[in-house]
Structures are given as structure tokens and as C-alpha cells.
Symmetry: D2
Subunit: 385 residues, 4 copies
């Protein structure tokens, strides 16, 4: 194996996303061929014992409890932010100011204002940056992007997306705390909009260009929940569900829906795009398949194709197993890590950058505003990488 | 076979729906056991030769070219309206005034105002009446209604529906004329809203109660089309596509979408309802199946069930073949005809009555209005049979 | 409608298949355009009261209790046999001798010897004849035949078929009698082999040419059952399940399986053919769909296509509804009736004729023999229409 | 993280399976909690440069080119065999004799005679041993085993399995050499029987007990192929396709099929079991789903369930992501590695041991023999762990 440069990672947070990111850098290093080799340098968390267990598993050299010391450490090249949304901006800005590369879990920020500061910070510092909108790099989703960019679909008429879950239906689910901070408006900033729809919006705008106007209906079905840490029953501030209509800059119509109250759906992220000549659909529940309809097929035998995206000529798959053998959810992170590592050689940014993440933030903020006064809102979003 | 009373039918129109209705009364008489036997008395159409061919096939005794003579004929008990929407009101009101039972293709009318007059007419005359929202009586859809009414779903959170087609994508499709009157605002009153969404709305309100507020986005993708009869290129007045959000009276959220520009979808009518304990989904493309998820199942082996609705204990199916052998689209009409015939004995109305059709009309009218000024509208719709 | 010649039908038996055949001739007359108009002349059954009810529904002019009087009636042109297998030969031969056209439910006969006599009889009489292997005329199955005949598949390697049911798992299901004669060796001749596999074999040989050799494993899981009529518990003589391997004349391998003990399968008739360049699969549970894989598709977006066989350019479908609106199981019979009626004009036989039915009979008989001594058997089957 | 004992691995071979095994031990160490920590000690291959690249990626400490030096190294605790089938026996026996734990890729051996020697060697040495029949540990397949063992299925009637591929249809695919040794009888021992059916047989006997008798039809469609290394065109000795019938000890019937000539199937490993009360089916192409039918469900809403096996209470899944987020093919190896590591603490063997692998070998050998003389063969297989 060729000699590689080392990329020393400082990971902030060791939760669900900490695991996903560690696994992704680990496997990007093994299964892909970047000039840079990821090195697990430091992991940071408030609970040192837990952080140590995490560090032992993945081989981090040191453990910290103060993120500022990691951000300022000379032994770290890249800050990877895996903590709740309300901490993204402070850490990212400090990291950029310290001259570190920075990656953050999505959504970029709590607000557009915060996001703009983050973008300004990484631009000023000139550091590589990325937001972990990982679903772009599910091989089927990447393949869809290639097909769309090839022009095969022709004029686009519709894009619809759903992200449906059912894990908060019980009133006994608390808000706040380690596993349930996503229900806490103070930590999450919003509910399904920032958590789930943000994914749909990132993919949608990557595929189909800017969303210019939105009209949303948001709802909070369970009005009060106990807080996981201090036990008080408090009003729920997040959106439990959000449905929105939108216009894309290219004239197509969008229809998006997300909820955590759709019984039977664990993580049904479905997205479909309809063009003049062809259509594409994808569902996270069967993430290794892409549905494709090509009107140019002979009419007698025309039908939706179920493409099993596991062949070596399909995106990323030459790095994995054999045709027919599917990879898991987590490889989307590995692909993002691999693309990030590869981008460092050419100094050519790859999306979604902070700038891209800001576009999604703008749409999310317009959605929440629209949900409040029930009117259409301009988003101000522009084109993504 | 027991002696039956005769129900003499006067059919107005012999197009697609004329065939569907004739087939339905024919098979309702053979496969079901009502006290009334349908008799094909008269068919009426402007083109006498075509009407005669239709009459010969189905055994109609006479052919007429003026609907008023049929409406006023002493030999006819039931007027069945199978002509474009702009003729529904006049014929139905005249039929009611002549004391005839009356059934009409959907949507009920061009406007709420028209619909109200129709309802008033049938009420005043005290005649049995019905609108052919046939999809209610697809066995899987009827089964869904039974499950919902049983309370198994618990509190309802969401209902979403789509009716997607792709047959008008080509700019060469004309508007107006025999096969394409559905694109002509003068004949159809609206586009996908009255043609397709009306079906979704009827089923949705039957399942889940009144839709109280809507917010719609309508679009006409192809702005001008040639007229099929006089050949002039004219502005297109219908909605090619419509997406709307809505509130149900019971607090659940609705998300509806329809278009004739969704490449790959011939007639994808999909509807799903999510409750606290269970969810149900159905798709016209596989009309014999019902998807059902029951959270009370043992968690290890819990999953969406694909119910092949072809067993004798499932709605209507004891009248047909054997388990595993599915029936076609057209049986939904036969079931409606059979239920109508059965209702005549007990004098107990069955839905969707004109009154029910009016509720759907109210929602459609609010949608079109909302699409125009992009604001939320109250519908005024009330509960259906 | 053009003036038509009358084809007077004498139906023997009014059970499940009596209904299916009556419906098929009725709708063939209405939805298709043959020179011949089917006329329901006489229905014959032992139970006159039931036969009368059947006659009333369908419009038969007379009711008989002795099939010989129908066979010899000058008012009947076509004898349609809908009774258990042990009566096919006698009735068919007598019908042919009386110069009547004759159609029989499948399988053709109880034995090859019987079948040969039937073939000889219709040949000698020169009368049109057909066996109701209806599944050939499910539109998707007919479309598959067209694609195979076009040569698109290239060299054929494999054909596999299953017909799985679960309705006899309970030991309480009796043998013999009206609804359960299919479990009675005396009435049925065999179990799943003649009842279910015969369908698979007919389609398989129609698609892929003669089956030359078979090796079978038959099993009777429940050894004794009560007889539905006289109540005695008697040994079960039929095959409850049958799996067989076979060679086709063209060098491809066959794998067939049938059972009435496959819990969860109502009537899963699945058939798949794999060629060098393309493959096709079909499943009765979703009879309106055809699965098709074409290796010549661009490898990036290659996948199994799910063809919704409901378009006007697909077999038989121009006679029915609209794209996306599926027809039922029973239309396969209507298509067969329509093809039979059409064939009378040109005097060009259409399959499956008695001669074709005999080929399937040969395979079935070889299967049963192989199941007994567990060795490979030659079938002697030859090419079908 | 608790202090762990080290398990030093000597890997023989670095091909497809070398990668899969390395990844599996790596992630077993990180995502699971065994007392033993896997250490990548030595990798061995003929091509030292390639082996070094592999070693660099995974962190192996040394590289060897002679497997005997690895087997005899005091620095190695476990020999993991990832080379073609014809080398399994020699290496495994030497490893056992050297007192090493030993794991081998499947199938266990080239012949039953070889396999018996291997079993004798590990028994004599008393060393932990395992065969990499990885599919048992796909979470859905493990869940199926639990459901079957719970007795929910009742009496078993049928088991059917297929393993269909299409990668050798082209006559231009060579035999022998690095990527195509599976077509070379000298290296592989057999074709689809040992490569693909062996997987099906392992799972089938694990689920449903011993296969006692088989009757097979084997075929070689392409009779000659060029050798990848020396370029000579030589007869093909392997079975391109194999279909076999079988009896299970419990009285149920088996139907198995495998081929590399089923166009459109990349790696369709499908297996289904039908019991009196319930049925289960699984397909590798959607490996994260299990199909389950329970006849005890209310008949109105009874249907096949599609279980998305991604919840924390389902096998192995508490170690991975979140409900709805599926894992890949390779996790089946990680689960096997984790179970092996865990078994070392309790000294309780877990299957499939060499002894279990031998049972599968017996069935495979009987299949090949049956394919040659076309008669039924006893297998002599006994119960597995």
C-alpha cells in the first residue's frame, strides 16, 4: 500500500453518530485508496469513562472532556462534530478559527443566522468543511444523481419525499437527555424538520436544484412530555410532524412529509422524481435498490425497474463485495469520509459543504416560519455542489 | 332463483363509464342476490349508431338521442348518468323531478352550487340516489373501512393519498372531444382535482371523517393545447397537477397529491392512514392487496402484512372465485350496483349519496380556490355515510 | 353491432367452473367482436333445482339432468364440460360423436389412454375442441409467450414453476363430495399433479416446448380422510404434494413443485424462464404484472421490470378499461372463449386443443409413475399449438 | 472497556473472503463485547506484494508466503483459511496438529473422506473450530431459526431453496485462475453444489434437521472453457446447475435449485419453510427482511408479513444502528466472528463446527453422485449444532 499522509481526527461526541463516523473513517481507510490515512487522535465527551470505552474500541490515542482543548490541539487536523445541534456552531467556528478542517453532523446549525456565521468562519479560514448529509452517498442515491445529471429524465415535473418514523407515538417517551434530545427544542432547534426533512431537502436540492418557496403545516401531537434529565413535564417545542408544499426553481412541484407518528414506519425515507421521459424512486428501507422507469423502453415490456445497486460499475460498489451482496446504511458515511479524504489531495471541495448545508438550513427555517403563520415563504436558497 | 322485481335502467352515455356501469349492473344481477333485477331498458347518446352497437351488446331494448325523453319515460325506473361533468346537474335534477332514482358518475357536479341543487332535487323527490365513487367498493378498500371502524387503529395521526398518472405529458394530447374531454375546463370543471383527487377525498372522508381546511398548490404544466373537435389551440383551463395539505376534523393531518405528469404511473391511486396502534395502506395498481401493520403483533415478527383480499370472509369475495384468485377493477362498480339494488328493499340509503358527493365537491371547490390565491380555505364539509 | 351467427351452448355442470365458463362466454360476446354470438341454451346437472337457479341467472333456456340428452340435442352446437375429471371422457366422446364442438375443463382426462380416445373422437368428427387451460390467456402470460417467441431470451437454460396452496392442511377437510371431489382419487384421478401442476405444464410446454423426461417425488401427508358423502374414513389416494425435475427437448432444465400444504399460499402459481439474454417471471397472486429482465439494458440501470400489463397494446387489454386498471382472474376464461369464437370463422384451431391437452396428460402420467418407483420416466410428449 | 485476552489470527489467503474475514474480526472486536480481542498477526499468500498491501490495510504485523510457517508459528492462536477448497484439508489438519484453533471457508472440504480427516484432527487436538457458513448469521436468518425452534410452525411439510446467479453465462468466462477458480473442478471440487447449494443445505439442516435422501439433476451448459492461467481450452468439470429433490428426516419434502445461468439473478439465495401453522421465507437480495405468515392471525387481516429486521430486540441488531437502518452482507461474518470469540470463554462450541460442515459435505457428495447416475441416494447426514 502506498505511503499515506496522516489525517488526525478529533471527534466531539461518541453517541450514535460518533460510532457511525468512527466506523466510516476506519473503513474509508481500509476499503478506499486516498492519499490520506485517517488517524483516531482524540475523542471528547463530558463523560470520560464512556469516552474511554469508545476510545479503546476505535483506537483513539487520547480522551478529552473539553472540546476547546481538542479544537486547539496541535495534534488534531480535523474536528468532527457528533454532538447535538445546539453545539454545532460554537465548535465549528472555533475549529475553523483554529485552522482545523471541520465536519459536522447535520443539520448545519440551529438557525440560518448561526449557519451564516459558520460558513463565514470556514471561508475566512479556508479550511475544508463538510456536513454529514450521508444519504447522498448511499450508492443507489448517488446513481440516481448520475442518471438525473445525464439528462435522461428530461423536464422535471414533480419531486416528492417522505421521512416517516413511529418512535415517539407513546406519550411516555421523554424529551431531552441522551437518547431523546431530538425531542428537546433547546437541543435540536426543531423536530422532524431539522432531523428528518433536512435529509430529504439536501437530496432533493442536490438532485433537482433550489427550492424557492414553501408552504408548511407543522403539528405537535403530544403537547407535553417529561424531561429525561430533570423529570419535569414541560411543553413540547418541536414539530412532531411537518408536511410542506414547495416550488423548485426549475418549475417543478415538491411535496414533502415527515413525522414520527406514522405507525409501522421505522425510518421510511422515500424520495421520487418524475421527469418527462423517466422517473426515479428510492426508499431507505431497501436502500440497495433503485426504482427506475424509462418511457423509452419498448411499450410492451415497459415497467418500473428494480435495480439492485451492488455491481462494480455502480457508485462505490467496486470497493465492496460481489454483485447481489448489499452493503449497510453505515457505508454511506464511509463513502462520504472516502470522498472527503480524496478531496484533500486535489483541494477540490466536495459537497455538501457548509455552504450547501446553509441552503438546506434556509429551507428548514422557512418551513418552520410557514408552519407558524400558514403562509407561503420564500427560502432564498441557491444551488448546491 | 327467487322472483325478482325489475329495475329498468336508462343509461345516459355509452363511453368508458357506460361500459363499466352496464357491466356492473349485469354482474350485480348474476353474482349477487338482490330483490331487484336490473333491466337494460334504454341507452341514450347523441350518436345513434354507436348507441345502437352498445345497446346490442348489453341488450338494451331501445335507443334514444335526447336524454329528456329517457328521463321522462314511464318505462324507466333509474337514470344512470355516464356523460361529462357539465351535464350531470341538468340530467340529475330533471330525473329527480320526474320521480326517477338517479345515479351519476363522479364528481357530483361542476360546482358546489350545482351540487346543492342536485341534493335538493333528490331530497324533494325522495328518490334513491348515488354517486359512482366506485373505489370505496374495491374489496381491500372496504375491508380497510371495516378495520378502521373497529377502532383497531386508535387515534389517527396521518392520512396521505396520491393519484398519479402520466397520460397527458405529451403536448400533442388535445383537449376536448370524446376521449379527452377531461382536459377541457368547460366539460370537466377542473383537472386532476375533480377527476382524480375527488376519488381520494371520497375515500379519505369515508375512512377518516370530514376535511375541514385545505391549502393547495395547483399547476398547469402545458399552457395551451389544440382542441380535439375544432382544432384551435387554446389556453388550458384545468389543473394538470394539484398538491394539497389539509386538516381533518379529528385532528389528523392530510397530504394529497395528484397529477397526470408522473412518468411511470398509469393510475397509481395510493392511500394510507396511520393510527396510534395500526396503519393501513392500499394501492390501485395492486388493488387486491391491502397493507396492514399492527403494532400489537409480537415485536420480533412484526411487519407490514400484505393481505391478499380474495377470501370468502372478506368483503364481497364470497360472490366471486376462490382464495388467491383476484377480481378486476370493474367489480368495484358491480359491488356498488349490488349494494344499491339491495338498498332498495330496505329503503335504507347507502353511500355515497348525492349528499355525500356534495361534501367531496365542497373540498374540491376549496382546493381550486386555495390553488388560486395560495391561502388556507375552510371547506364546510360534513360527515358522510 | 354486426349481425352474428349463434353458437348455442350446452353446459354440463354448474359448479365453480360452470360459473367461470358462463361468465366467460357472456363477456366474450359483449367485450369482443366475434362473428359468433354465444347463446346459453341448456345447462345440465343432477340437481335440477340448483341448475334452474344457475339457468335463471345466466339466461339458459332449458335445464336438463341427463347429459346425454344435451349431447344429442339438435338445439346445441357446443358442449362445455364443467364436471369432475372422471366424466370428461364419456361426455366429450359422446359429444364428438354427435357432431358437437366440445370444450372441457382441464385436465383433459383421467389417463393418457382416455385422452387418446378423446383426441381420436374429435379428430374423427372434425369438430372444434379445446381444453380450458385458462392461464395461458392471462394477459401477462400471453405477453410472455410473445416475448419468448420473439427470440429475445436467446438460448433457454431454466424453467421453474410452483403451484402452492394451503387449503387441505387440516385433517378435517373431507374427500369426495361437491366442494372436495378434488381430494377423491376416484373423481380426480390424481391430486395436485392433475389439478395444479397440469396448469404449470401446459404453460411451460407452450412457452418452452416439450418436456421429455421427468423424475418426481410425490407425497400424501394426510393418509386418511372422511368421505364427504358417506362419512367413512378411507385412505387418501391422491398426491398431496409433488415435486419433479425434468428435461425439456431444447436442453433446458425444469423444476416444478406443487402442494396444498404450503401455509400462506392461497393459489401461488409462479413460473419463471431464464434465457441467455433475458428472463421472465409471473405470479398468479399478482396476475396483472409480468416480471422481465433484459440483460441488454444499460448495466447501470439494469433491473427486473415490473410490467403492469394493462395497456391497450398488450394482449387482450384493448377490450377492457384503461391503463393501470387491472382485470380479474376470470378474464382469462373470457379471452379463451373469445379466441375460440374467433377461431370458428377462420376454421383455424387455437390451442390448447384436445391434442395439446393430451401432451400435458402424458407428462402428468409420467410424473405419477415416477413418484411411485422413484425413477426417471420418458414422457413421449410432443409440441403444442 | 474491560481488559481483553488477545486472539492472534493467522489468515491464509487475502482474496474476497480474506477481506470479508478481516472486516468481520475487526468489527466483532469493536461492535461486540467478547473477552477476546482479535489481533491481526500474520497474513499468508503466495504473492508477497499483494499480501503486504492487505496487511497494511488491516494492520497485520507480518506477512508470510508459506502457510506451514504460519500454522507452526508460536505467535498465532487461530488459523483462518480463506483459500480455494482444495487446500482446506491440508491446512486445517496441520493447524489442528499444531494445536491451533481453526476456521475455514466453506465448503469444509473437497470430499467426505477429506472432511472426516479434518473432523478427526480437530477432535483429536481438542481445538475450537468452525466453518464460515456465514448466512446463518444474517439477522433475519437467525431470527427465522428462533421462530422455528419456538415451535410456532408446527409440523413441517416443505422446505425449498434456490441460489441463482448469472455470472458464467458468457462462454468467454475462463476457468481456473484467481477470480474464476470456482469454475475449475481441480480447485473447487464441484460447481454450484459446493459453492452455492452448500449454503442452502447448511441453513436448511440447521433449521429443519437432516436431509436423508437426495435425487439430483446436474448439468454443465458450457462444455469447454479456456483456462485463465495457461490459456488452454479444456473440458469443464463442474456442475453449472443442479436441481435436487430430497427428504428430510422429519418427513418434510425438500426442493433445491442452483445455477449460474439464471439471467437477472445476481445472488438470489431464497429459502422458504412451510409448517402447519406458519411459514417463513427469506431472500438474500433483501437480506434485512424476513417474510413470515402466521395462520393464527385474524383471517380478515391475515397476510405475509415483511419484517424489517433492524430492531434492537432482533438478533445481533442491538450492536448496530437504529430501527429501519439495515446492515450489509458482511455483518453475517462479523456475527460469526463475534459468536466464535464469545464461545471461547465458555468453551461451548458454536456451529457450524467442522462436524456440522461434514454433514453438509455428505449431502453435497450424495447430490453429485445422484446427478451422475440419476438415482436416489442416502446421505448419511446427521443432526447439526
Amino acid at each position: 500500500m502506498k505511503q499515506k499522509k496522516k489525517l488526525r481526527i478529533g471527534t466531539i461526541g461518541y453517541g450514535f453518530m460518533g460510532w457511525a463516523h468512527a466506523d466510516s473513517f476506519d473503513r474509508a481507510g481500509k476499503f478506499f485508496d486516498a492519499d490520506y490515512e485517517p488517524v483516531f487522535q482524540t475523542v471528547c465527551a463530558r463523560n470520560k469513562e464512556n469516552a474511554q470505552d469508545f476510545a479503546d474500541r476505535w483506537g483513539y490515542k487520547t480522551v478529552e472532556t473539553d472540546w476547546r482543548s481538542v479544537v486547539n490541539s496541535p495534534d488534531v487536523d480535523l474536528i468532527d462534530i457528533c454532538v447535538p445541534n445546539n453545539l454545532h456552531a460554537d465548535i465549528a467556528i472555533a475549529a475553523a478559527e483554529a485552522g482545523k478542517m471541520v465536519m459536522t453532523e447535520k443539520p448545519l446549525a440551529m438557525t440560518v443566522a448561526e449557519g451564516e456565521k459558520m460558513v463565514a468562519a470556514v471561508k475566512k479560514a479556508g479550511v475544508p468543511n463538510m456536513v454529514w448529509y450521508n444519504y447522498r452517498r448511499i450508492p443507489a442515491v448517488t446513481l440516481a444523481k448520475q442518471v438525473i445529471d445525464s439528462g435522461k429524465l428530461g423536464r422535471i415535473f414533480h419531486l416528492r419525499a417522505q421521512f416517516l418514523q413511529d418512535w415517539t407515538i407513546s406519550a411516555a417517551v421523554p424529551q431531552g437527555g441522551t437518547g431523546t434530545w431530538r425531542l428537546d427544542i433547546a437541543a435540536a432547534g426543531s423536530g422532524v424538520t431539522g432531523d428528518l426533512l433536512a435529509h430529504c431537502i439536501d437530496t432533493a436540492m442536490w438532485w433537482n436544484g433550489p427550492i424557492t418557496r414553501v408552504c408548511a403545516r407543522t403539528e405537535t401531537f403530544i403537547k407535553e412530555r417529561e424531561h429525561a434529565e430533570h423529570g419535569k413535564v414541560e411543553p413540547v417545542g418541536i414539530d412532531d410532524a411537518c408536511v410542506f408544499l414547495c416550488d423548485f426553481e426549475n418549475g417543478s412541484l415538491g411535496n414533502f412529509e415527515s413525522t414520527r407518528y406514522a405507525r409501522g414506519h421505522k425510518a421510511k425515507y422515500f424520495i421520487e422524481i418524475n421527469g418527462e421521459h423517466a422517473s426515479i424512486a428510492w426508499d431507505l428501507h431497501d436502500l440497495h435498490r433503485l426504482s427506475y422507469f424509462d418511457h423509452k423502453d419498448d411499450s410492451l415490456v415497459r415497467g418500473w425497474r428494480s435495480i439492485h445497486v451492488t455491481d462494480g460499475d455502480q457508485p462505490y460498489m467496486s470497493h465492496w463485495w460481489r454483485p447481489g451482496l448489499s452493503v449497510g446504511y453505515e457505508t454511506s458515511f464511509a463513502h462520504q469520509a472516502a470522498d472527503f479524504l480524496a478531496s484533500l489531495s486535489g483541494n477540490k471541495p466536495v459537497g455538501p459543504t457548509f455552504e450547501d448545508g446553509l441552503q438546506t438550513q434556509k429551507v428548514c427555517e422557512a418551513i418552520i416560519a410557514s408552519g407558524k403563520d400558514r403562509s407561503w415563504k420564500d427560502t432564498g436558497a441557491s444551488k448546491m455542489l
